[in-house]
Point group: C4
Amino acid sequence: MARWRSKLHEIIYEADTPMGKAFDLVLLILIILSVVFVMMESVSKIDAQYHELLYIGEWVITIFFTLEYISRIITVKKPFRYIFSFYGIIDLLSTIPLYLSFILAGSNYLLTVRALRLLRVFRILKVTRYIGASNKLRRAILHSRPKIFVFLFAVVITSIIAGTIMYLVEGEENGFNSIPHSVYWCIVTLTTVGYGDISPATPLGQFIASIIMIMGYGIIAVPTGIVTAEYTRAIDQIDTNTQCCPNCGESKHKDNAKFCHTCGDILNPESDS
Amino acid sequence: MARWRSKLHEIIYEADTPMGKAFDLVLLILIILSVVFVMMESVSKIDAQYHELLYIGEWVITIFFTLEYISRIITVKKPFRYIFSFYGIIDLLSTIPLYLSFILAGSNYLLTVRALRLLRVFRILKVTRYIGASNKLRRAILHSRPKIFVFLFAVVITSIIAGTIMYLVEGEENGFNSIPHSVYWCIVTLTTVGYGDISPATPLGQFIASIIMIMGYGIIAVPTGIVTAEYTRAIDQIDTNTQCCPNCGESKHKDNAKFCHTCGDILNPESDS
Amino acid sequence: MARWRSKLHEIIYEADTPMGKAFDLVLLILIILSVVFVMMESVSKIDAQYHELLYIGEWVITIFFTLEYISRIITVKKPFRYIFSFYGIIDLLSTIPLYLSFILAGSNYLLTVRALRLLRVFRILKVTRYIGASNKLRRAILHSRPKIFVFLFAVVITSIIAGTIMYLVEGEENGFNSIPHSVYWCIVTLTTVGYGDISPATPLGQFIASIIMIMGYGIIAVPTGIVTAEYTRAIDQIDTNTQCCPNCGESKHKDNAKFCHTCGDILNPESDS
Amino acid sequence: MARWRSKLHEIIYEADTPMGKAFDLVLLILIILSVVFVMMESVSKIDAQYHELLYIGEWVITIFFTLEYISRIITVKKPFRYIFSFYGIIDLLSTIPLYLSFILAGSNYLLTVRALRLLRVFRILKVTRYIGASNKLRRAILHSRPKIFVFLFAVVITSIIAGTIMYLVEGEENGFNSIPHSVYWCIVTLTTVGYGDISPATPLGQFIASIIMIMGYGIIAVPTGIVTAEYTRAIDQIDTNTQCCPNCGESKHKDNAKFCHTCGDILNPESDS
């Protein structure tokens, strides 16, 4: 019995063997297909014509995903660790919605959460180059997070106060019919989205809006500055290490350096970092 | 009498003791509650149903804030210094609006200025990591300010001239009904907000607008560049340390410096940071 | 016969000789003229008056371009290499549309693809300074591509899921009439374009939209950070030179290196660059 | 006679003497006043009431500016150099429009060009700190210009081709009524302005628009990256020089360094750069 389990494990979890590759490819296609199916079902014209087909398609794929999810739990050594892992939760969420639609109408549309499974593509494509890229990026973004959080917090506070002022200045007759609505307008403006569903109509309101926009212009620079600086640092940290030459004391050698570039002395063999 | 004052001082101003922590938490919740109350009051539907409740809630919190404000003045050693400090002014502004609403209708909405008190959250959360982040950020932003000011000044001058040209080209029939209005449109465009409440309708106007937009595209790069460069520098300044030369007293040496760059004297071997 | 061919080759392919320069200039003017002609033909008012003129103009230029394309094939040594090169394909695409318009009405508008031929301008202007700039840029952009691809992939997945949520929250009565349409709205919002043709109308929808916008505000920082960091590195790489170690052949030494960092051998004193 | 000329020269051109300072201040106020006057004249409501007043105000200031312009020419040693200098041309343009309005109605609005004279503010405020900032900025922007030019050129070509495609896909019934109009829409989209006066209505058009927007998202990163990298370089070039230590060969010393920070040897006295 252990044999077919280890065989199944190899097919599902490995991406190097021909079987594993084929499985991942089938999975990839099914994910895209199912997301397309759900999208098309929501378009009333297409749904009117192909409802039956789309419905059957969704069920076939969902049953396949359900079987796959069960197999993943059976074949893995520590099932609970998989179940509560990031991908485990996504895999579960990708199968539930259609079953839920019996109870809660419309919940089948949540099948688009399957799009998250596309993140597996990176694993299939085996592009370590890409993974490397996203790892460096991820580190930079993780590092920037607390700073960007502080920053977004300030943006929200600014929006609340500026939104209140605009509510008092413009009033309900110009679409600013409540403070939450004005705060919404203020966020739309500060982020430079600018739908135009609400826009200031009084000269004073337009003047204040201009100031908010110019402020937003300066503010948009901050998160960009944070990410860029962190990412630049993340890149630089890889290319030079802080190894110190025992002869002349020069540091900041290239990672693969064996001899000091300043005095030519031999460098200490690098210890693992 | 001095005892209860010092006790009160500890509760209000300290965030380390259990009582101080509890007080700060209560304050935090009350701030959020009161901002939510004011926002909800401005929504006519909600106000129609819960006016009484919201009104009482606002008054209860305002009275609490008033008492807190008075306590802060009484228990602090230098009351005037507190009153005219940044937080002192915010604390005052957070209590006044509701009293003012007897005289000036609508001023109660200004209670949302209380949102500024949320900045205290950082103190409560005791996240030195965050504070550290915002300190570095603040330094970078402060450093960038004069440059960004010069830049925004140039944007405003550009908007005035481009706005005049658009007023002459498009004219009142296309919504550009005065120069200030055209300048407003120009700021909306340069900042890439683009409400669409006014937009050029003549071919010549659209051509000029295109040039303004492409210019804005290049211009948006400048404040971002400034903040990024300053922030990168703020981070890099960790690379120059504050080590002091034992001979000449020069500080700000490079991290890998073994000899003072001013007098050539040997520097103390760096202690681990 | 070989003589007129080499003469023709010189005129068409060279940009240094007076004849070659004149040819390139004529080409440049014709490209701009033909793009302007096509654009003007699409404006119904202008087309009504000058249709004949524009039509003849397009044909004259197209015949000239056809002759030029044939000449390029005849005079070049490896005709197939030219035909399948980037510029060869553009040159072909620049002549076909008008002939195609006999079969497929409207295809003549595709003549605007000729605008791509304007890239030759750089060759004509002989601005090595510009080419240098775009080379460095191109390298930075090429380097950023996999990372930006990963990033845009994440944006699309986010849009699909957020679009589904908005479809369920807002529904057809507020313009979110299908998931693909909602995804389109989500991309319009995340990229801060914000047409306003669809915009959330329910309070919950506006709240979710606000979160999407603030997220977009943080997200827009990432590609900028990537390009900036890569470009900064591309500029800094001037700091590592291509000097080759006479002993072990290792290149890419730091500019101030006197000894090879791989074998410790002394490097040749740098010649002035 | 030479005496009053040198006296006048001192008042007009100097900003250090009390008289010069007062003159500059008056000038500054008059510039702002006249721009405000012209703006107010364009607002029909205000103009209806205060036309006389504004008209007289404009004339008084214009006559003052005319006299000032003449004085500047008389008192300066090389009048032609002043006349054809940047500020000389602005000064002339700031006086002409009102005289021109006798011949050409509406040209008086061009008086807003006077806003450019506000650039003198920097001179009056004597903020060398600001000037320093804008000098560094100017250098970075000048350096970035050819690269940004190449980039904007590419954006325009992209817009022409994408605009043509959208014209063919959407057609006149959806507002894309000519290629120039579609190109205008494409620029509005790529720059993330997004007025919404024209927006794609067909599914295919929205799909293509989504691609254009996501591309624009990546493209907006490029000029920002260029300016940031150049500005970072401009800042860094000031803090370290390329001086080489005669003993150990270490370069990149701080500007005020007298001794090598690596080996402690004395550095060559810096030659003027």
